[in-house]
Assembly symmetry: C2
Homo-oligomer: 194 residues x 2
């Protein structure tokens, strides 16, 4: 368990996966001044724009599986999570809500349509962000509940793991797609509904 607690992406190194975002001036976890203001920064500073709630899968919230055993676990993000809105964590194992600074985590056991309804109400007219992981995004894509999607592909070979797609082209029946390479080496995939 300790190993998993220190490795939110399993064998993948999150610092390498998110290096492109961490290098930007607008990275929400940034503690020092500086950072780049190029293309990647447009994507990181758009992160919170007009967002009123987030939906995430349980595996993004933490490494525990099955019934909650460690109620001390309050997510990866310390006392000031970067969401600053209500967050709906999809799990079959309910637990009381947790408030950390501007963020409140609610634990919900429902289908995507119902959870989206709850998140929409909480967002009070703003947009709802679907924060991952892969299983959760696939669920919402399969239910055709996604309007726009930004996927940043980092040049890191993981070998194994869940796949969001075989090829992004499989979404082209429903979405426009622009593929934008960044000087940082990451490739931004921008989808929006046809």
């Amino acid at each position: 368990m300790t190993c998993a607690l220190e490795s939110p992406f399993g064998h993948a190194n999150p610092e390498r996966l998110f290096a492109w975002a961490g290098a930007t001036a607008s990275w929400p976890m940034r503690t020092d001044p500086g950072g780049s203001r190029g293309l990647d920064d447009y994507f990181t500073r758009d992160y919170a724009r007009n967002i009123g709630a987030e939906i995430m899968g349980r595996n993004k919230f933490g490494p525990q599986r099955g019934p909650w055993q460690d109620h001390e676990w309050r997510g990866w993000w310390g006392d000031e999570p970067p969401f600053r809105t209500p967050v709906f964590v999809m799990t079959h194992h309910k637990r009381p809500s947790i408030t950390l600074s501007d963020t409140t985590f609610h634990f919900v056991d429902s289908d995507p349509v119902t959870v989206l309804g709850q998140a929409r109400e909480a967002a009070q007219g703003k947009d709802v962000r679907l924060g991952g992981g892969v299983t959760t995004i696939r669920q919402f894509l399969d239910a055709d509940l996604v309007d726009t999607m930004h996927v940043a592909v980092s040049p890191v070979k993981l070998g194994t793991g869940l796949r969001l797609w075989e090829l992004p082209d499989e979404l082209l029946d429903r979405f426009h797609l622009e593929v934008v390479p960044s000087p940082s080496g990451v490739t931004h995939h921008l989808f929006w509904r046809k």
Copy 2:
């Protein structure tokens, strides 16, 4: 004069110059729903983010030169200009301020440092946008008052007109530069201070 009033960029067709922005969902002058949500939309929706004031040259505000003769002229943008902040128009010929909806135009006859000070105070902690045209941007670049800059180059041949630069590389002593081609055909140039 009539000809100039209908042609804010002289012989250049503004619809062609701004076609990339007008096609996006976030274009502030958009009157119908729809529009693209790809790369170009990130730039148009960033237009107003954290902006508290704009500075523009007189030639952006309107076609009159010399002392103001037509006081009926209130800019190109109708009764609801897209700025929604105080706007400082640099001119040697002063006139009373004009308020149109959320935008107030102030006419100021000062050097860039002084005008930037006035705009900063009006912006109340937010950023100041330098909206053009070419002569004004060159003045502020020469005075080293620019922190970041987004220049969209449209694939339109004008032949004559003011040049912002011979080559963007002439700014590389002071700025980082990323050149990002968009699928729309426009090329975004992103500068930020070293």
